[in-house]
């Protein structure tokens, strides 16, 4: 069962088609939702939560239909919205407890979990302060705490690092990584920041103009390119490349002594130095290159203009 399944999902809002025929299945543990502003990321999240009714097609969350099972979906999901969303005149612990009770926790358990969630996100010391007095970073964290308090199976984070300074951003990213590492909760993280998705997700859904530009398993992409190496060498590289090819590598030479090598899994970087030593050439620079999310994103955006259905990158 996929975490999110989309089958020709179309959403129309205010007379405009915002999501057009999305089809795909996401099974990752941490799923990134990527796309430029206005691509339909927040609309997709709102549809998954049952805030928007699909015009046609089906969206499933954890196997539940977003149109008919919205209460059961909301029971299993924690949601951190993009914009400020809280009750300013409540203190932190009361707010998180309130949300946990709405999610179905009995009052005593909700109180205990509220304290735990606030300590977990780093707001333990300020949990009795009114939320209206919190800084922007704290407000982001309390939204995360309320999304976590009831122990959801899926945590939806809409632009979690929005407006955060570098330190607060790093803290948020670390928290997301921690939650992912715990393994109990799936994550759906919407962002237009490639770096955030790259650091936290193992699968990415790229949206552009309401269509799926690509669904990509970032981990697989990384694995398939893990032995892609760029070398800068001094001396004649001809013998070196021939020898490497005879060892099972794919090699390509370029001007200026640049050589690109894709090594089989059995080989390591040490073999490069050994072979270079044999042919009397120097390796001056070695760069382990992998397909970055940026490459995947840019490639998807290029494809998007010329294709009808989504592509699997």
């Amino acid at each position: 069962m996929g975490v999110i399944e989309l089958d020709r999902l179309e959403v129309r809002l205010g007379g405009r088609t915002v999501l057009a025929g999305l089809t795909g299945e996401l099974r990752g543990h941490a799923i990134g939702l990527l796309g430029p502003n206005g691509a339909g990321k927040s609309t997709l999240i709102n549809t998954l939560l049952g805030f928007h009714e699909p015009a046609s097609g089906v969206a499933r969350v954890l196997g539940l239909d977003a149109r008919v099972d919205r209460m059961r979906i909301r029971q299993s999901v924690g949601y951190m919205p993009e914009n400020d969303s809280f009750i300013g005149n409540m203190n932190g612990v009361r707010f998180v407890r309130y949300m946990a009770e709405l999610a179905g926790l009995p009052p005593a358990e909700a109180l205990e979990r509220a304290h735990e969630a606030l300590f977990y996100v780093g707001l333990g010391e300020v949990r009795y302060r009114k939320i209206s007095t919190y800084s922007l970073g704290m407000k982001q964290l309390i939204k995360l705490a309320q999304g976590l308090a009831h122990g959801p199976k899926l945590l939806i984070l809409d632009e979690p690092t929005n407006g955060l300074d570098p330190t607060a951003r790093q803290r948020m990213i670390q928290l997301i990584k921690d939650i992912r590492k715990q393994g109990a909760t799936h994550l759906l993280i919407s962002s237009h920041l490639l770096r955030d998705i790259d650091e936290t997700c193992d699968e990415v859904l790229i949206l552009n103009k309401g269509r799926i530009a690509a669904i990509s398993n970032i981990e697989e992409e990384r694995r398939s390119h893990r032995n892609f190496i760029e070398l800068e060498m001094a001396g004649s590289t001809e013998g070196f490349t021939k020898k490497m090819q005879s060892l099972g590598c794919e090699c390509a030479s370029f001007a200026g002594g640049r050589v690109k090598v894709v090594m089989p899994d059995a080989m390591s970087a040490r073999d490069l130095y050994v072979t270079a030593g044999e042919f009397g050439v120097q390796i001056r620079r070695i760069q382990l290159r992998r397909d970055s999310l940026e490459d995947i994103f840019l490639r998807a955006m290029e494809y998007e203009g010329s294709r009808v259905d989504h592509v699997r990158v």
Partner: protein
């Protein structure tokens, strides 16, 4: 282990039934409403007329005390008119309490954009409004039918004659009349508070919703020389309804009396208008047209 030493862990404990979630909203809304000293002050102030009414019932049923206190003044009659007066007084205190409490229940949520988070939990928009309405209705009950029925029960207890059985319809009228007013006030209070995010303005707007149409109706009646403008006059409409429900003598001249059906239609239309406003305003996400 202390809570701050806990790591993140999933919750696998008991869950409350889905149908009881609106009561969570009610509980928090009640706490929010009654945390204010002004609410407590208004509540105490609203109960003062009941204390006076209790004393009057005591005097009416106690000839010796009446002779000592009133010294041959006019006799006190505890009848439908007495309870109509008490109900009207309490219900108008209910309006004051609504104008203070209703904006506290909704405006905070809207002002801080809390609806996306609230409605992302397993609670529907209807459940949200139900929870808030129950909180408001409970608060209004404290100053309307509950004190009026306490007066009724005290009169039943104090009356030397077999008074209760012959006046049981009064209790039904008090209860029913109060609930008509409570439902209407709850709808108007929540709709206005949802429409106007600022609490102070919402408080004024709730009064305006009751009295401005009354003025417009009065002008229409005067210009067109008709009684139908009174249908917009909520104080008049409600007085008529309460008077008929309690079986009290008519206050309005016969030519100005309104048909019950027309009054019911006006109240239903007001409620539907409020539902339409709430349907537009109570949403997790606003959809921009165009």
């Amino acid at each position: 282990m202390s809570v701050f030493e806990h790591d993140y862990r999933p919750y696998d404990g008991r869950l409350t039934p889905l149908g009881t979630r609106p009561l969570v909203l009610t509980r928090y809304a009640m706490a929010e409403a009654w945390a204010s000293k002004i609410t407590i002050g208004l509540f105490i102030f609203a109960l003062l007329p009941c204390v006076v009414a209790l004393v009057m019932i005591y005097l009416a049923n106690n000839p010796l005390a009446r002779a000592l206190v009133m010294r041959g003044g006019p006799s006190l009659s505890i009848d439908a008119g007495f309870f109509l007066h008490a109900l009207e007084t309490q219900c108008w205190f209910g309006l004051v309490l609504t104008s203070w409490i209703a904006p506290r229940l909704v405006s905070f949520d809207l002002g801080d954009n809390a609806l996306p988070i609230l409605l992302s939990h397993p609670i529907s928009r209807f459940g949200y409004l139900l929870g808030k309405s129950v909180a408001l209705a409970l608060s209004l009950s404290y100053v309307t039918w509950i004190p009026c029925l306490v007066l009724f029960v005290y009169q039943c207890y104090s009356s030397p004659q077999p008074w209760t059985l012959s006046h049981l319809s009064l209790a039904v009228g008090i209860f029913g009349g109060s609930w008509v007013w409570i439902v209407l006030l709850s709808m108007v209070g929540l709709a206005v508070s949802a429409w106007v995010k600022w609490r102070v303005i919402a408080t004024g707007a709730i009064f305006a919703m009751v009295f401005v149409p009354a003025g417009v109706g009065g002008i229409a009646s005067a210009i067109l020389r008709t009684k139908w403008g009174l249908l917009l006059n909520l104080p008049v409409v409600m007085s008529e309804i309460w008077q008929r429900m309690l079986g009290a003598p008519a206050v309005m001249p016969e030519r100005l009396q309104l048909p019950s059906f027309a009054m019911a239609v006006v109240l239903a239309a007001a409620c539907l208008l409020c539902v339409a406003v709430l349907n537009v305003r109570i949403r997790a996400r606003e959809v921009v047209r165009g």
